[in-house]
């Protein structure tokens, strides 16, 4: 697609405070991406993300914009932030996600989130043990927010373990991102997990055994991933590839939650309305993978995680 040169340096950030179906806010994220990437920077000027219409940002929208801002680097400046939004951005580390260190990280920093519904947007290095430290910190903070007796944090432990393991083993990403926000009146915990590395399609395309199962559309790779096919070429890997398929199984069939995965130019959504698999227009793609989870904080009676992971 020919690149349209837009000499304007301001991108209006649409207001999005609801996510009608899980992942719907990515309609706005994609538009921001498209406009930002089509904008030519003139004479070293910055691209302004204009937040004048925003009074609240949905957690998934907020996290995705933060990752994009980090990816675009110093060229992005946020303008017209209302004071409440500015305060919110500061406490969730919107401008620069909180860097998780494999060993250090002041526990006291996390104390101020104990009575909040949200946590900082965290960035970790998938190649070292900061990925594990990020999970430990997030889980402990969630446990403190929702109560130690609520088993959600144990389920979260399984889900984060599998989905972040995928980032470490398959994405070749320099960074992984993790963000959680609880929505008390919905009894839901929103979880955002993301990398900016290879898409799932690229992982399968690099494996001779699966390349014939792919077509030109990136949705074909998501279908393979959802069926439990692995994306790493190792002899013992018939036992791999459970992460995405089992996570979805637990969330949908076990908990009655919602699941969304975007990778490259395709996404999959599974909620109460059923399954949807979509190939995006060619001009829209996320370099890497985003997983969104809506986890009920009230666990259905009789739920046993081990019934879903065999």
């Amino acid at each position: 697609m020919a690149k349209h040169i837009n000499t304007a340096v301001s991108v209006l950030i649409p207001s999005a405070n609801i996510d009608t179906h899980i992942g719907s806010v990515f309609n706005h994220v994609f538009k921001v991406m498209f406009q930002t990437e089509q904008t030519e920077i003139v004479n070293g000027r910055f691209i302004e993300w204009d937040f004048k219409d925003c009074r609240f940002l949905h957690p998934f929208y907020l996290a995705a914009l933060s990752v994009l801002k980090t990816r675009y680097g110093e060229t992005i400046r946020c303008t017209n932030l209302q004071s409440a939004i500015r305060s919110y951005f500061e406490i969730v580390f919107f401008d620069t996600p909180l860097v998780i260190d494999a060993i250090n990280n002041k526990d006291s920093l996390w104390d101020k989130y104990e009575d909040k519904t949200y946590l900082p947007i965290c960035v970790f290095n998938p190649k070292d043990k900061s990925s594990i430290r990020a999970q430990e910190l997030i889980q402990e903070a969630v446990k403190r927010q929702i109560g130690h007796n609520n088993p959600v944090h144990r389920i979260l432990s399984f889900l984060l373990g599998e989905l972040i393991d995928n980032i470490t083993d398959h994405s070749h990403s320099e960074n992984g991102y993790l963000f959680c926000q609880r929505i008390p009146n919905e009894n839901m915990l929103y979880v955002f997990i993301c990398d900016t590395g290879h898409s799932i399609y690229a992982s399968y395309a690099a494996d001779d055994r699966y390349v014939k199962m792919l077509d030109m559309e990136e949705s074909s790779a998501l279908k393979l991933a959802l069926s439990g096919k692995l994306t790493k070429n190792r002899p013992e890997n018939e036992n791999r590839g459970y992460g995405i398929s089992k996570s979805r199984e637990i969330i949908i069939n076990g908990l009655g939650g919602e699941f969304f995965i975007l990778s490259g130019g395709a996404f999959f959504r599974h909620d109460i309305n059923g399954e949807t698999l979509v190939d995006l227009p060619e001009s829209i793609r996320w370099d890497g993978t985003v997983v969104l989870l809506k986890l009920p904080t009230i666990i259905p009676k009789g739920f046993n995680i081990y019934n879903h992971i065999g």
Partner: protein
């Protein structure tokens, strides 16, 4: 027989397959009888449990001891699954192809 305390040497909360494999390889010797003692390990992910199964296949002289409740459950689930043929879910989902930003906008407005 030597004993390796996993909580001390690797961690109490073990989540990443590749890190676990790397750490355990540094601790094991192919010709040595070793007990991997999991006391105080509170969690292993499914992928780590699967890798632990691989370790026991690769190192026949290694055995496990003191698996805590959740760790034991996770390992049992994986062990049972490994002894059965792998099942892949069928996905006959209809694929929606969006060609333009307008189509994308309409899709998100409706679904």
């Amino acid at each position: 027989m030597n004993t390796i305390y996993i909580a001390t040497n690797i961690g109490k909360d073990i989540r990443t397959r590749s890190f676990f494999r790397r750490d355990i390889e540094n601790l094991l010797n192919h010709n040595e009888s070793v007990t991997l003692d999991f006391s105080e390990v509170i969690f292993i992910s499914r992928s780590v449990a699967d890798e632990l199964y691989n370790v026991l296949e690769d190192y026949p002289l290694v055995q496990l001891d003191n698996l805590e409740r959740d760790v034991k459950m996770m390992y049992s689930v994986v062990e049972r699954a490994r002894k059965q043929p792998r099942h892949y879910d069928d996905n006959n989902i209809e694929i929606i192809k969006l060609h333009t930003l307008k189509e994308m906008d309409e899709f998100f407005s409706s679904f």
